[in-house]
Amino acid sequence: MLRFIVRRLLQAIPTLLILSVLVFAWLRSLPGGPAGALLGDKATPEKIEALNKVLGLDQPLYLQYFKFLGRVLTGDFGNSLISGESVLTEIGRALPATIELSITALFFAVALGIPLGYLAASNKGRFLDNFTVIGTLVGVAVPVFFLGILLKIVFAQNLGWFAPSSRQSADIDATRVTGFATLDGLLTGEFDATLDALWHLVLPAVALATIPLAIIVRITRASVLDVLNEDFVRTANAKGLTGQVVRRRHVLRNALLPVSTTIGLQTGLLLGGAVLTEKVFVWGGIGSLLAQGIERRDYPRLQALILLGAAVYVLVNLLVDISYALIDPRVRA
């Protein structure tokens, strides 16, 4: 098992290396540059040239890349061209907000998606199943930002059940420990802060969870239907096992294999959805860093963010592979 993990981690190195080249080249092929964006209206060709020289952007691309790579290997992703701060500090500050949102959304998607998918499969062709199939189709098709705005109007503005935006109310004076708003309240005993944070968390998490939820429901349903037709389920029934044991031990365990792959892939996509959701709910996480970075062509910040996203993706899929090996003994061999 340990060898398996180490091998997979080593495999991630070339992936990230190739990605770093692509990101580097892609950013620099975008029209405009940081100099133009920084100078704004006052930009003249001379000023841009001068600023590029200061930023080191006048050097040949390959030289810029190797300098960048050299610094990255020592853990230095450079400073943001917008704030002048180290991009890692910036990201470190914004990361807990995004992680909190993503994990909550993922939790919703998994905790609801697997039982719903199972329920639909065991009622195949009946109302509940048809309803789920159509409902999830709508869920997959609705864009995150549209759903986010809709939820905001209905549940925050009209009904007033949940907070419309931001992570915590301004009048809550919460102590920061970890940066996770819900967790900090628990750690410091400021339970009102935790409740307030949860009140803010619900709508964006629901918006972000919708697409992965719909996909997990559909994959679980399809996978359970496959497994129900397997010979070993018939064997389990022939043994006279109770329905509950057949479902839990024999059907669900096998059906979860494809579902775990899906959860891994969805976690990657969740990062993309988080950017949009954060924008709608003024969340102030990685999403706003990224959006601002793209507008202003902040190369160092974007490079760091994209590589970070890729690293998370690789890591999550490693976790999926490990869970696969834990569920299925044939993979371990």
Partner: protein, 333 residues
């Protein structure tokens, strides 16, 4: 009274958009304790559906099961799902065709054996493990304690089938149904598995329903044979009688189509012409008529009734094979 009395068992498949179809059509037979009854026929003749109907394992939707299946006087077809679950594994055991797909790939063999003991004997896991090791030993699996912790893919085909037999016999059911238990195995292993089944059945007085298309299996194991064609029993006889003097042209054809090692060099094989797709419906005549070498005009016009031809033999044919037609020697296992 026989242990199991099957009377007029009829299974009708009702699929949306197609006409109802009788996969099993008025099948009747008895099984006494310690007796082995064979159900023989080609693929699609209804032998597996018969066994699944007895076990109550047919899908609930899309099928209608008629007739009676009485086990010690109780009609199994009238029992609820819960009552059937109590009986399956305890009163009726079943061994399936493909041992690899019939075992759950992600659960150790040990659990797959012990769960029957836990279910029907109320044994604790630890005690059941000891019992399971004994069972594996009894079916001839070497090093049983180690095998209990292994997964199906780590066992050979023969061992997997032995494990399935151990599972089916764990709670010593009084009736065992074996659905083509040797079809997926090597020829050398087939004989071992048949010998094992014979030994276990003889020792414990278990009644056995043997479902097979292989007349060699019938010759080696069965006391009484029911030959099925297109869902109906076309000939029923005691084993020696059947081999010595097949009366139905279909039975005769099955026996004649076995290639013989002691035949003359270059002797042609004798297949039965056509396939089950050439059948005509039973209510318009004899389903076998289009393939039958003995067919008369009446065969495609009048459904042949089932007749008692003496000596406990039943026959459904207008123009049976005449006694004295070159019989085929009994094949022994």
């Amino acid at each position: 009274m026989a242990l199991l009395e099957v009377r007029d068992l009829t299974v009708t498949f009702q699929r949306k958009g197609s006409a109802p179809f009788n996969a099993v059509d008025g099948v009747s037979f008895d099984v006494d304790p310690g007796q082995t009854v064979g159900l023989v026929g080609e693929s699609g003749c209804g032998k597996s559906v018969t066994s699944l109907a007895i076990m109550g394992l047919l899908p609930k939707r899309g099928n209608r099961v008629g007739g009676t299946v009485s086990y010690e006087g109780t009609d199994l077809l009238t029992l609820s799902d819960r009552q059937m679950r109590d009986r399956r594994g305890r009163d009726l055991g079943m061994v399936f065709q493909d041992p690899l797909s019939s075992l759950n790939p992600v659960i150790p063999i040990g659990i797959q054996v012990t769960e029957v003991l836990e279910r029907h004997r109320g044994m604790a896991r630890k005690k059941a493990m000891v019992e399971a090791a004994g069972l594996l030993d009894k079916v001839g699996i070497p090093d049983p304690t180690r095998r209990l912790t292994e997964y199906p893919h780590q066992l050979s085909g023969g061992m997997r089938q032995r494990a399935l037999i151990a599972i089916a016999l764990a709670v010593q059911p009084r009736l065992l149904i074996a659905d083509e238990p040797t079809t997926a195995l090597d020829v050398t292993i087939q004989a071992q598995i048949l010998a094992l089944l014979k030994e276990l059945v003889t020792d414990s007085g278990t009644a056995l329903i043997m479902i097979t298309h292989d007349l060699g299996v019938v010759a080696g194991l069965c006391d009484e044979v029911n030959v099925l064609y297109a869902g109906r029993v076309v000939e029923k006889a005691e084993r020696h009688e059947l081999f010595a003097q097949p009366r139905h042209p279909y039975t005769h054809g099955l026996l004649a189509s076995i290639p013989r090692l002691d035949g003359a060099r270059g002797e042609r094989l004798n297949p039965i012409r056509g396939s089950v797709s050439d059948n005509i419906p039973w209510d318009t005549g004899c389903a076998f008529a289009p393939r039958c070498p003995n067919a008369l005009e009446v065969c495609t016009q009048v459904t042949p009734p089932q007749e008692d031809i003496g000596g406990g033999r039943l026959l459904r044919c207008h123009n049976p094979v005449r006694p004295g037609t070159p019989a085929v020697e009994e094949v022994s296992v």
